[in-house]
Amino acid sequence: CISTSCSTSCHGNTSCDLRNTASNCTGGCEPISLEICMNLPYNFTKFPNYLGHQSQKETSVSWESSLFPALVQTNCYKYLMFFACTVLVPMCDPLTQHRVPPCRSLCRNSKERCETVLGIVGLQWPEDTDCAQFPEEGQANSTCLMPDQDVKECSPSHFKCGSGRCVLSSKRCDGHTDCDDDSDEDACGCVERGLWECPGDRSCIRHNMICDGFPDCNQQEDEVNCSACSSHELECNNHECVHRSFWCDGRKHCKDSSDEWNCVSLFDGGKVLVYKSGLEYQVCADGWSSNLSSITCTQMGLGSSLSTQAVEAESLSVIRRRWLHVHPDWSQHDTSALQGLLGKRGQSCPSHTSVSLQCPKHDCGRRPAARMVKR
């Protein structure tokens, strides 16, 4: 628990909430996780909040959590965002575990200055925020929240204009001026914003997206020159270097297992092509079995093989005659992918025939029970 007051177990107390475990107490204070209220002068909250929401998750998808940040952009009241957060994620006093409400004057000022703005666009002030429910500032034996001078007017979801106004961060450098002083379109270069610029389309990405195995720039520049593998190594998708002899051997060597991706394909109408140790091979038909055909089609995400043929291996310009042969004891490893069941690389294949398969797509997307029934 955040504070020691949570019980470590329910002691048979039936009213105790099932979730009341050491790590997830209800009834106590909880850290604020609502993105738009992550810069408050307090860090703990307690639910239900003053809008009747039972959790921060419910609040994060609520109408009000979109309404207030949008309303803040109109500059109707300097402390509107602060008031909104005291209602959405009320302060929780870690000592007493009680909620601390906003003062009535803060509520009244927010409502009086901003309600009319909502009226212009045909919206109403949120019903549940009746200011009378909050105590007056300085009222005997009750505390309430007022903003001090260094409270942040904009939330983390906002960009603060030079003029002090808040606009939603999605408007920052979006090509339209939203701040009254146009400052949201200033210094829009990636570098000024602490981001990395894609050379091709000049879009900006975060530095931690570079060389992480996921292309984010349109021309994928963020995923090039990410490693320096030697000539006898190949580069994994996450840019590790792995010896080429481990490539497509049926066992994972790259942490992201990318040395075993796309090892088998069909070409030229169905001929099986295996990419092993960085080279492409045909598969000699000697010793092939229908089980191997099923394994091959399955690993390519296709349905069970329709037909298997041993076809005359004419000299293919695309692939110098390199052969892989079925391991004699392959059936002992039949949970392995095809590339792990082949070996004995060589230049000859006694039958001089290579394997060719027909693998259909899975039967999918049909709904026989929904057929029309004559009436």
Partner: protein, 240 residues
């Protein structure tokens, strides 16, 4: 589903209900293979362990087990490594079922789109689920027809969020037919020219739906993830 209608048994044989005790139905899911299903990553927040989940298929009324119903425990949950909870990006996960389902008229997998194959804007597709219908949670599976919306038009509805290439939008400006809480992870499917149905989206997020309807729904864009999905199945099938 808001603005939809009650479906009939067998109309959406790939639809499944992702359930966890004691709550029961939590999210939708979609059968894509005899041992594989898809749902969204955000369904597992706070319940990451596979052994608290099961998948129920071949059912129309959650309250009435049907003769066609099949239930499978979830063997493993593969959440996309880039799932971003704050902005609900890469919101997808693959479910490996404890054992294969029996393919029947009421339990059948949906097709995945080919790489790069996106539905055209303004194409009409279907969403299904047991989520909120506006004033209650239904027992019977609901279905609704929605229109695919372009990313640029969709972005204009969501000031506070960025619509990424991992997202797909569908619905209507007034939000008249839309998915809602409890539909998450369920399918957005479109009929192809050859009569087969393909999965293009998984219900992911949208504006508030049960008190005020506004704007379209946002779905995990399956086309963006087809290669990732097939790769997860391959790696687990061959213990890589």
């Amino acid at each position: 589903i808001l603005g939809g209608r009650t479906s009939r048994p067998g109309r959406w044989p790939w639809q499944c209900s992702l359930q966890s005790d004691p709550s029961g139905h939590i999210c939708g899911c979609v059968l894509i293979g005899r041992k594989w299903a898809l749902t969204v990553a955000h369904c597992f927040e706070g319940r990451e362990s596979a052994d608290v989940w099961k998948v129920v298929l071949g059912i129309n009324n959650l309250d009435h087990p049907s003769p066609y119903m099949q239930t499978r425990q979830v063997k493993s949950i593969i959440v996309h490594s880039r799932y971003n909870r704050a902005v609900v990006d890469y919101d997808i996960s693959v479910l490996e079922l404890e054992s294969e389902v029996e393919v029947t008229s009421y339990v059948r997998p949906i097709c995945l789109p080919d790489r790069g194959q996106l539905p055209k804007p303004d194409k009409y597709c279907h969403i299904t689920g047991w989520g909120h219908v506006g004033n209650r949670m239904p027992f019977k599976l609901q279905e609704g027809e929605v229109r695919i919306i372009s990313v640029s038009q969709c972005q204009s509805y969501f000031d506070m969020k960025t619509i990424t290439s991992r997202m797909l939008c569908a619905g209507y400006e007034a939000g008249t037919i839309d998915s809602c809480m409890g539909d998450s992870g369920g399918p957005l499917v479109c009929e192809e020219d050859d009569g087969r149905w393909s999965l293009y989206g998984l219900t992911s997020w949208g504006s508030v739906c049960f008190s005020k309807v506004l704007g379209p729904g946002v779905y995990a864009n399956i086309t963006h993830f087809t290669e990732w999905i097939e790769r997860q199945i391959y790696l687990r099938t061959f213990h890589l």
